[in-house]
Protein backbone atom coordinates (compact mmCIF):
# COMPACT_ATOMS: atom_id res chain seq x y z
CA UNK A 1 0.00 0.00 0.00
CA UNK A 2 1.34 3.44 -0.88
CA UNK A 3 1.50 6.40 1.43
CA UNK A 4 -1.33 8.88 1.01
CA UNK A 5 -0.59 12.58 0.73
CA UNK A 6 -1.89 15.00 3.36
CA UNK A 7 -4.27 16.25 0.68
CA UNK A 8 -5.80 12.79 0.32
CA UNK A 9 -5.92 12.20 4.08
CA UNK A 10 -7.55 15.53 4.92
CA UNK A 11 -9.80 16.12 1.87
CA UNK A 12 -12.96 14.66 3.43
CA UNK A 13 -12.24 15.91 6.98
CA UNK A 14 -11.76 19.44 5.62
CA UNK A 15 -15.00 19.23 3.63
CA UNK A 16 -16.88 18.10 6.77
CA UNK A 17 -15.21 20.83 8.85
CA UNK A 18 -16.17 23.52 6.34
CA UNK A 19 -19.73 22.16 6.31
CA UNK A 20 -19.87 22.34 10.12
CA UNK A 21 -18.52 25.89 10.30
CA UNK A 22 -20.81 27.05 7.47
CA UNK A 23 -23.76 25.54 9.36
CA UNK A 24 -22.79 27.30 12.58
CA UNK A 25 -22.53 30.60 10.68
CA UNK A 26 -25.74 30.19 8.68
CA UNK A 27 -27.74 29.71 11.88
CA UNK A 28 -26.43 33.01 13.20
CA UNK A 29 -27.18 34.98 10.04
CA UNK A 30 -30.91 34.41 9.87
CA UNK A 31 -34.01 32.44 10.79
CA UNK A 32 -36.26 30.28 8.63
CA UNK A 33 -34.40 29.18 5.49
CA UNK A 34 -31.06 29.96 7.11
CA UNK A 35 -31.88 27.65 10.03
CA UNK A 36 -32.90 24.84 7.68
CA UNK A 37 -29.61 25.28 5.77
CA UNK A 38 -27.70 25.34 9.04
CA UNK A 39 -29.33 22.09 10.14
CA UNK A 40 -28.49 20.37 6.84
CA UNK A 41 -24.87 21.57 6.79
CA UNK A 42 -24.38 20.52 10.41
CA UNK A 43 -26.00 17.15 9.80
CA UNK A 44 -23.65 16.26 6.91
CA UNK A 45 -20.72 15.15 9.13
CA UNK A 46 -23.16 13.11 11.24
CA UNK A 47 -24.65 11.40 8.18
CA UNK A 48 -21.18 10.57 6.83
CA UNK A 49 -20.19 9.17 10.23
CA UNK A 50 -23.30 7.02 10.47
CA UNK A 51 -22.62 5.70 7.00
CA UNK A 52 -19.07 4.57 7.84
CA UNK A 53 -20.02 3.41 11.34
CA UNK A 54 -22.63 0.82 10.31
CA UNK A 55 -21.03 -0.74 7.21
CA UNK A 56 -18.00 -0.41 4.94
CA UNK A 57 -18.48 2.27 2.28
CA UNK A 58 -19.79 1.33 -1.19
CA UNK A 59 -16.61 1.78 -3.28
CA UNK A 60 -14.80 -0.84 -1.19
CA UNK A 61 -17.69 -3.30 -1.56
CA UNK A 62 -17.79 -2.75 -5.30
CA UNK A 63 -14.05 -3.34 -5.58
CA UNK A 64 -14.41 -6.58 -3.63
CA UNK A 65 -17.31 -7.69 -5.84
CA UNK A 66 -15.27 -6.93 -8.98
CA UNK A 67 -12.45 -9.01 -7.62
CA UNK A 68 -14.64 -11.99 -6.80
CA UNK A 69 -16.85 -11.74 -9.89
CA UNK A 70 -14.61 -13.69 -12.34
CA UNK A 71 -14.24 -16.51 -9.82
CA UNK A 72 -18.00 -16.83 -9.45
CA UNK A 73 -18.42 -16.96 -13.20
Amino acid sequence: MTHKTNGQIFALPILLGVSTVAGLGAGLIGDGVWDVGAGLLLALPLVVTGRYWVRPPEPVLRRQQLQTAPIRR
Binding site: L12, L16, T20, G23, L28, V36, P45, T49, R51, W53
Partner: protein, 377 residues
Protein backbone atom coordinates in the same frame (compact mmCIF):
# COMPACT_ATOMS: atom_id res chain seq x y z
CA UNK B 1 7.01 13.76 9.78
CA UNK B 2 9.93 12.39 11.78
CA UNK B 3 9.45 9.94 14.64
CA UNK B 4 10.74 12.63 16.99
CA UNK B 5 8.04 15.07 15.87
CA UNK B 6 5.37 12.40 16.17
CA UNK B 7 6.55 11.55 19.67
CA UNK B 8 6.31 15.20 20.75
CA UNK B 9 2.76 15.49 19.41
CA UNK B 10 1.88 12.13 20.95
CA UNK B 11 3.02 13.37 24.36
CA UNK B 12 1.04 16.63 23.92
CA UNK B 13 -2.06 14.60 22.99
CA UNK B 14 -1.60 12.20 25.88
CA UNK B 15 -1.07 14.75 28.63
CA UNK B 16 -3.57 17.41 27.54
CA UNK B 17 -6.20 14.66 27.16
CA UNK B 18 -5.43 12.93 30.45
CA UNK B 19 -5.71 16.18 32.40
CA UNK B 20 -8.92 17.45 30.82
CA UNK B 21 -10.89 14.25 30.06
CA UNK B 22 -12.64 13.82 33.42
CA UNK B 23 -13.78 17.46 33.42
CA UNK B 24 -14.76 17.36 29.75
CA UNK B 25 -16.84 14.23 30.37
CA UNK B 26 -18.63 16.09 33.18
CA UNK B 27 -19.18 19.09 30.87
CA UNK B 28 -20.50 16.93 28.02
CA UNK B 29 -22.85 14.94 30.27
CA UNK B 30 -24.28 18.01 32.04
CA UNK B 31 -24.30 19.93 28.74
CA UNK B 32 -26.55 17.36 27.07
CA UNK B 33 -29.75 18.22 29.00
CA UNK B 34 -28.80 21.91 28.96
CA UNK B 35 -29.16 21.93 25.15
CA UNK B 36 -32.90 21.35 25.71
CA UNK B 37 -33.01 23.70 28.70
CA UNK B 38 -35.98 25.75 27.38
CA UNK B 39 -38.01 22.67 26.40
CA UNK B 40 -37.39 20.86 29.70
CA UNK B 41 -38.07 23.94 31.82
CA UNK B 42 -41.21 24.72 29.80
CA UNK B 43 -42.39 21.18 30.40
CA UNK B 44 -41.51 20.93 34.12
CA UNK B 45 -42.69 24.45 34.90
CA UNK B 46 -45.14 25.62 32.21
CA UNK B 47 -45.17 29.41 31.62
CA UNK B 48 -47.86 31.18 33.60
CA UNK B 49 -50.88 32.31 31.56
CA UNK B 50 -51.09 36.04 30.83
CA UNK B 51 -54.11 38.32 30.53
CA UNK B 52 -55.42 38.55 26.96
CA UNK B 53 -55.22 42.19 25.91
CA UNK B 54 -55.27 43.86 22.47
CA UNK B 55 -51.93 43.41 20.67
CA UNK B 56 -51.13 47.13 20.73
CA UNK B 57 -51.67 47.60 24.47
CA UNK B 58 -48.88 49.95 25.61
CA UNK B 59 -46.38 48.92 28.25
CA UNK B 60 -46.30 50.63 31.63
CA UNK B 61 -43.43 52.92 32.55
CA UNK B 62 -40.45 51.00 33.93
CA UNK B 63 -40.55 53.33 36.94
CA UNK B 64 -44.01 51.96 37.80
CA UNK B 65 -42.70 48.38 37.44
CA UNK B 66 -39.74 49.26 39.70
CA UNK B 67 -42.12 50.64 42.34
CA UNK B 68 -43.95 47.29 42.34
CA UNK B 69 -40.62 45.46 42.56
CA UNK B 70 -39.62 47.58 45.57
CA UNK B 71 -42.82 46.48 47.32
CA UNK B 72 -42.29 42.83 46.38
CA UNK B 73 -38.67 42.76 47.60
CA UNK B 74 -38.51 45.16 50.56
CA UNK B 75 -35.04 46.28 51.65
CA UNK B 76 -33.45 45.29 48.34
CA UNK B 77 -32.28 47.43 45.43
CA UNK B 78 -32.84 46.81 41.72
CA UNK B 79 -29.75 45.42 39.94
CA UNK B 80 -31.00 44.55 36.47
CA UNK B 81 -34.10 44.93 34.34
CA UNK B 82 -34.46 42.60 31.38
CA UNK B 83 -37.09 41.97 28.74
CA UNK B 84 -38.65 38.72 27.58
CA UNK B 85 -38.00 37.90 23.91
CA UNK B 86 -41.47 36.59 23.15
CA UNK B 87 -43.98 37.82 25.71
CA UNK B 88 -44.62 41.26 27.22
CA UNK B 89 -42.82 40.45 30.45
CA UNK B 90 -40.34 42.61 32.34
CA UNK B 91 -37.91 40.89 34.70
CA UNK B 92 -36.44 42.76 37.65
CA UNK B 93 -33.45 41.33 39.49
CA UNK B 94 -33.05 42.68 43.01
CA UNK B 95 -30.42 42.11 45.68
CA UNK B 96 -29.21 43.42 49.04
CA UNK B 97 -26.16 45.16 47.48
CA UNK B 98 -24.91 45.82 43.91
CA UNK B 99 -22.12 43.23 44.37
CA UNK B 100 -24.44 40.57 45.86
CA UNK B 101 -23.73 36.95 44.88
CA UNK B 102 -26.25 35.54 42.39
CA UNK B 103 -27.61 33.22 45.10
CA UNK B 104 -28.62 36.27 47.20
CA UNK B 105 -30.52 37.89 44.31
CA UNK B 106 -34.24 37.74 43.63
CA UNK B 107 -35.71 37.41 40.18
CA UNK B 108 -39.15 39.01 39.80
CA UNK B 109 -41.43 38.95 36.76
CA UNK B 110 -44.11 41.51 35.88
CA UNK B 111 -46.68 41.79 33.11
CA UNK B 112 -45.30 44.81 31.22
CA UNK B 113 -48.81 46.04 30.32
CA UNK B 114 -50.62 45.70 33.64
CA UNK B 115 -47.81 45.56 36.20
CA UNK B 116 -49.29 42.33 37.58
CA UNK B 117 -46.68 40.29 39.43
CA UNK B 118 -46.18 36.94 37.74
CA UNK B 119 -45.27 33.71 39.57
CA UNK B 120 -41.64 34.04 40.66
CA UNK B 121 -38.89 32.17 38.90
CA UNK B 122 -37.97 29.12 40.95
CA UNK B 123 -34.55 27.67 40.21
CA UNK B 124 -35.27 24.07 39.32
CA UNK B 125 -33.28 21.07 38.20
CA UNK B 126 -32.00 22.83 35.06
CA UNK B 127 -30.57 25.69 37.15
CA UNK B 128 -28.81 23.05 39.28
CA UNK B 129 -27.31 21.38 36.19
CA UNK B 130 -26.26 24.75 34.76
CA UNK B 131 -24.46 25.65 37.99
CA UNK B 132 -22.70 22.28 37.96
CA UNK B 133 -21.74 22.81 34.32
CA UNK B 134 -20.50 26.37 34.94
CA UNK B 135 -18.44 26.09 38.10
CA UNK B 136 -19.31 22.82 39.91
CA UNK B 137 -20.74 24.98 42.77
CA UNK B 138 -17.20 26.11 43.59
CA UNK B 139 -17.33 29.73 42.46
CA UNK B 140 -15.31 32.05 40.25
CA UNK B 141 -11.95 30.28 40.24
CA UNK B 142 -13.55 26.92 39.49
CA UNK B 143 -15.17 28.54 36.45
CA UNK B 144 -11.79 29.88 35.29
CA UNK B 145 -10.32 26.40 35.93
CA UNK B 146 -12.93 24.83 33.65
CA UNK B 147 -12.04 27.48 31.07
CA UNK B 148 -8.43 26.32 31.23
CA UNK B 149 -9.64 22.71 30.82
CA UNK B 150 -11.37 23.92 27.65
CA UNK B 151 -8.04 25.22 26.35
CA UNK B 152 -6.37 21.87 27.11
CA UNK B 153 -9.23 20.16 25.27
CA UNK B 154 -8.52 22.36 22.24
CA UNK B 155 -4.79 21.47 22.45
CA UNK B 156 -5.80 17.78 22.58
CA UNK B 157 -7.91 18.27 19.43
CA UNK B 158 -5.07 19.99 17.56
CA UNK B 159 -2.50 17.36 18.55
CA UNK B 160 -5.00 14.62 17.68
CA UNK B 161 -5.39 16.07 14.17
CA UNK B 162 -1.60 16.16 13.76
CA UNK B 163 -1.37 12.47 14.76
CA UNK B 164 -4.26 11.61 12.45
CA UNK B 165 -2.04 12.21 9.38
CA UNK B 166 0.67 9.56 10.00
CA UNK B 167 -1.95 7.15 11.38
CA UNK B 168 -4.14 7.37 8.29
CA UNK B 169 -1.22 7.32 5.80
CA UNK B 170 -2.17 3.84 4.60
CA UNK B 171 -5.83 3.72 5.59
CA UNK B 172 -8.93 4.95 3.76
CA UNK B 173 -11.12 7.56 5.47
CA UNK B 174 -13.51 5.88 7.89
CA UNK B 175 -11.70 2.54 8.00
CA UNK B 176 -13.07 0.51 10.91
CA UNK B 177 -11.20 -2.77 11.22
CA UNK B 178 -13.86 -5.19 12.39
CA UNK B 179 -13.19 -8.65 13.72
CA UNK B 180 -9.74 -7.67 14.97
CA UNK B 181 -8.75 -6.87 18.54
CA UNK B 182 -11.24 -4.82 20.56
CA UNK B 183 -8.62 -2.14 21.17
CA UNK B 184 -7.85 -1.76 17.46
CA UNK B 185 -11.58 -1.39 16.77
CA UNK B 186 -11.84 1.44 19.30
CA UNK B 187 -8.66 3.06 18.00
CA UNK B 188 -10.32 3.30 14.56
CA UNK B 189 -13.57 4.61 16.04
CA UNK B 190 -11.67 7.17 18.15
CA UNK B 191 -9.98 8.44 14.97
CA UNK B 192 -13.15 8.55 12.86
CA UNK B 193 -15.28 10.28 15.50
CA UNK B 194 -12.42 12.58 16.49
CA UNK B 195 -11.92 13.84 12.97
CA UNK B 196 -15.63 14.35 12.14
CA UNK B 197 -16.38 16.20 15.40
CA UNK B 198 -13.22 18.31 15.03
CA UNK B 199 -14.84 21.58 13.93
CA UNK B 200 -17.84 21.36 16.24
CA UNK B 201 -15.80 20.37 19.31
CA UNK B 202 -13.26 23.14 18.62
CA UNK B 203 -15.95 25.81 18.33
CA UNK B 204 -17.92 24.68 21.39
CA UNK B 205 -14.71 24.16 23.40
CA UNK B 206 -13.18 27.52 22.61
CA UNK B 207 -16.44 29.48 23.01
CA UNK B 208 -17.00 27.69 26.33
CA UNK B 209 -13.59 28.88 27.47
CA UNK B 210 -14.43 32.43 26.35
CA UNK B 211 -17.66 32.26 28.38
CA UNK B 212 -15.70 31.54 31.56
CA UNK B 213 -13.83 34.82 31.12
CA UNK B 214 -16.92 37.08 31.01
CA UNK B 215 -16.16 38.89 34.28
CA UNK B 216 -12.44 39.59 33.58
CA UNK B 217 -13.10 40.57 29.94
CA UNK B 218 -15.90 42.93 31.00
CA UNK B 219 -13.52 44.37 33.60
CA UNK B 220 -10.92 45.12 30.89
CA UNK B 221 -13.57 46.86 28.79
CA UNK B 222 -14.73 49.01 31.70
CA UNK B 223 -11.15 49.92 32.64
CA UNK B 224 -9.97 50.80 29.13
CA UNK B 225 -12.82 51.41 26.78
CA UNK B 226 -15.01 53.89 28.53
CA UNK B 227 -13.35 57.24 29.24
CA UNK B 228 -16.66 58.89 30.16
CA UNK B 229 -17.37 56.09 32.59
CA UNK B 230 -13.92 56.29 34.20
CA UNK B 231 -14.35 60.06 34.61
CA UNK B 232 -17.65 59.48 36.40
CA UNK B 233 -15.97 57.46 39.15
CA UNK B 234 -14.54 60.72 40.55
CA UNK B 235 -17.99 62.26 41.01
CA UNK B 236 -19.80 62.53 44.31
CA UNK B 237 -21.74 59.45 45.41
CA UNK B 238 -25.22 59.07 43.98
CA UNK B 239 -27.99 60.80 45.95
CA UNK B 240 -30.95 58.74 47.15
CA UNK B 241 -33.15 60.44 44.56
CA UNK B 242 -32.63 58.70 41.19
CA UNK B 243 -33.46 59.77 37.66
CA UNK B 244 -36.24 57.99 35.78
CA UNK B 245 -35.26 54.63 34.31
CA UNK B 246 -37.97 54.90 31.67
CA UNK B 247 -36.54 58.26 30.53
CA UNK B 248 -33.04 56.73 30.48
CA UNK B 249 -34.24 53.92 28.21
CA UNK B 250 -35.97 56.40 25.89
CA UNK B 251 -32.90 58.64 25.74
CA UNK B 252 -30.70 55.75 24.60
CA UNK B 253 -33.32 54.41 22.19
CA UNK B 254 -33.50 57.83 20.46
CA UNK B 255 -29.83 57.29 19.48
CA UNK B 256 -30.61 53.94 17.79
CA UNK B 257 -34.35 53.82 17.00
CA UNK B 258 -34.15 50.52 15.08
CA UNK B 259 -32.83 48.63 18.12
CA UNK B 260 -34.72 46.94 20.96
CA UNK B 261 -33.86 46.92 24.69
CA UNK B 262 -32.09 43.79 25.94
CA UNK B 263 -31.35 44.71 29.55
CA UNK B 264 -30.62 47.62 31.86
CA UNK B 265 -27.81 47.39 34.42
CA UNK B 266 -28.12 49.54 37.54
CA UNK B 267 -25.30 51.53 39.19
CA UNK B 268 -22.60 49.35 40.76
CA UNK B 269 -23.20 46.03 39.01
CA UNK B 270 -20.70 44.28 36.71
CA UNK B 271 -22.18 45.66 33.51
CA UNK B 272 -22.42 49.29 34.64
CA UNK B 273 -20.41 51.98 36.43
CA UNK B 274 -21.09 53.31 39.93
CA UNK B 275 -23.03 56.25 38.50
CA UNK B 276 -24.90 55.05 35.46
CA UNK B 277 -27.88 53.20 34.23
CA UNK B 278 -26.32 51.13 31.44
CA UNK B 279 -29.00 50.50 28.83
CA UNK B 280 -28.08 47.66 26.46
CA UNK B 281 -29.87 47.66 23.11
CA UNK B 282 -29.83 44.76 20.67
CA UNK B 283 -30.33 44.66 16.90
CA UNK B 284 -33.58 43.50 15.34
CA UNK B 285 -32.14 40.81 13.00
CA UNK B 286 -30.91 37.39 14.19
CA UNK B 287 -27.24 38.31 13.70
CA UNK B 288 -27.36 41.85 15.08
CA UNK B 289 -29.46 40.68 18.04
CA UNK B 290 -26.24 39.10 19.39
CA UNK B 291 -24.44 42.44 19.12
CA UNK B 292 -25.26 44.80 21.97
CA UNK B 293 -25.02 48.60 21.98
CA UNK B 294 -24.73 50.12 25.47
CA UNK B 295 -25.80 53.65 26.36
CA UNK B 296 -24.80 55.19 29.69
CA UNK B 297 -27.22 57.53 31.45
CA UNK B 298 -26.27 59.42 34.61
CA UNK B 299 -28.46 57.88 37.32
CA UNK B 300 -28.57 61.17 39.29
CA UNK B 301 -29.31 63.73 36.57
CA UNK B 302 -30.73 61.56 33.78
CA UNK B 303 -28.21 62.98 31.29
CA UNK B 304 -27.13 60.69 28.45
CA UNK B 305 -23.33 60.52 28.85
CA UNK B 306 -22.33 58.14 26.09
CA UNK B 307 -23.52 55.58 23.55
CA UNK B 308 -20.40 53.58 22.73
CA UNK B 309 -20.19 50.53 20.50
CA UNK B 310 -18.42 47.68 22.27
CA UNK B 311 -14.82 46.86 21.33
CA UNK B 312 -14.13 43.74 19.25
CA UNK B 313 -13.32 41.55 22.25
CA UNK B 314 -16.69 42.28 23.88
CA UNK B 315 -18.48 41.59 20.58
CA UNK B 316 -16.52 38.32 20.26
CA UNK B 317 -17.49 37.37 23.80
CA UNK B 318 -21.18 38.01 23.11
CA UNK B 319 -21.04 36.07 19.84
CA UNK B 320 -19.38 33.16 21.67
CA UNK B 321 -22.48 32.60 23.79
CA UNK B 322 -24.93 31.31 21.16
CA UNK B 323 -22.10 29.35 19.48
CA UNK B 324 -21.53 27.53 22.77
CA UNK B 325 -25.18 26.92 23.67
CA UNK B 326 -26.44 25.96 20.18
CA UNK B 327 -29.79 27.60 20.93
CA UNK B 328 -30.03 29.88 17.90
CA UNK B 329 -31.14 27.59 15.10
CA UNK B 330 -34.33 25.92 16.25
CA UNK B 331 -34.98 22.34 17.35
CA UNK B 332 -33.08 20.79 14.39
CA UNK B 333 -29.90 22.51 15.53
CA UNK B 334 -30.45 21.35 19.11
CA UNK B 335 -30.76 17.73 17.97
CA UNK B 336 -27.56 18.09 15.91
CA UNK B 337 -25.90 19.62 18.99
CA UNK B 338 -26.96 16.66 21.12
CA UNK B 339 -25.63 14.13 18.58
CA UNK B 340 -22.28 15.91 18.33
CA UNK B 341 -22.18 16.01 22.14
CA UNK B 342 -22.76 12.24 22.35
CA UNK B 343 -20.06 11.60 19.72
CA UNK B 344 -17.67 13.77 21.73
CA UNK B 345 -18.45 11.70 24.84
CA UNK B 346 -17.53 8.57 22.83
CA UNK B 347 -14.27 10.20 21.66
CA UNK B 348 -13.38 11.08 25.27
CA UNK B 349 -14.37 7.68 26.62
CA UNK B 350 -12.58 5.72 23.90
CA UNK B 351 -9.47 7.87 24.35
CA UNK B 352 -9.42 6.98 28.03
CA UNK B 353 -10.04 3.29 27.22
CA UNK B 354 -7.18 3.27 24.67
CA UNK B 355 -4.81 4.68 27.26
CA UNK B 356 -5.92 2.27 30.02
CA UNK B 357 -5.60 -0.72 27.66
CA UNK B 358 -2.27 0.36 26.20
CA UNK B 359 0.46 -2.23 25.93
CA UNK B 360 3.33 -1.82 28.36
CA UNK B 361 6.65 -0.40 27.32
CA UNK B 362 8.01 3.06 26.67
CA UNK B 363 6.04 5.73 24.83
CA UNK B 364 8.09 4.95 21.66
CA UNK B 365 5.80 1.93 21.50
CA UNK B 366 2.82 4.31 21.03
CA UNK B 367 4.72 6.24 18.34
CA UNK B 368 5.14 2.95 16.45
CA UNK B 369 1.42 2.39 16.89
CA UNK B 370 0.73 5.76 15.24
CA UNK B 371 2.98 5.23 12.21
CA UNK B 372 1.91 1.59 11.78
CA UNK B 373 -1.80 2.51 11.98
CA UNK B 374 -2.17 0.37 15.07
CA UNK B 375 -0.74 -2.76 13.38
CA UNK B 376 1.92 -3.69 15.89
CA UNK B 377 1.27 -7.37 16.30
Amino acid sequence: MTRRTIKTWYLVHKWTSLICTVFLLMLCVTGLPLIFDEEIDGWLDPPAPMATLPANTPSLSLDTILASAAKAAPGEIPLYISFDDERPIVYVTTGPTPDAAPAAMHFLAFDARTGTKMPPYVPGVMAFILKLHTDMFLGFWAEIFLGVMGLLFFAAIVSGVVLYAPFMAKLDFGTLRRGRSKRLGWLDRHNLLGIVTLAWASVVGVTGTINTFVVPITGIWKANGLAEIIASEARTPLPAQRASVQAALEAVQREAPEMKPQFIAFPGVVFSSHHHYAVFLKGATPLTSKMLLPGFVDAATGRLDAVVPMPWYMQAMLLAQPLHFGNYGGLAMKIVWALFDILTIIVLGSGLYLWLRRRGGPSDQRVREVVMAGEIA
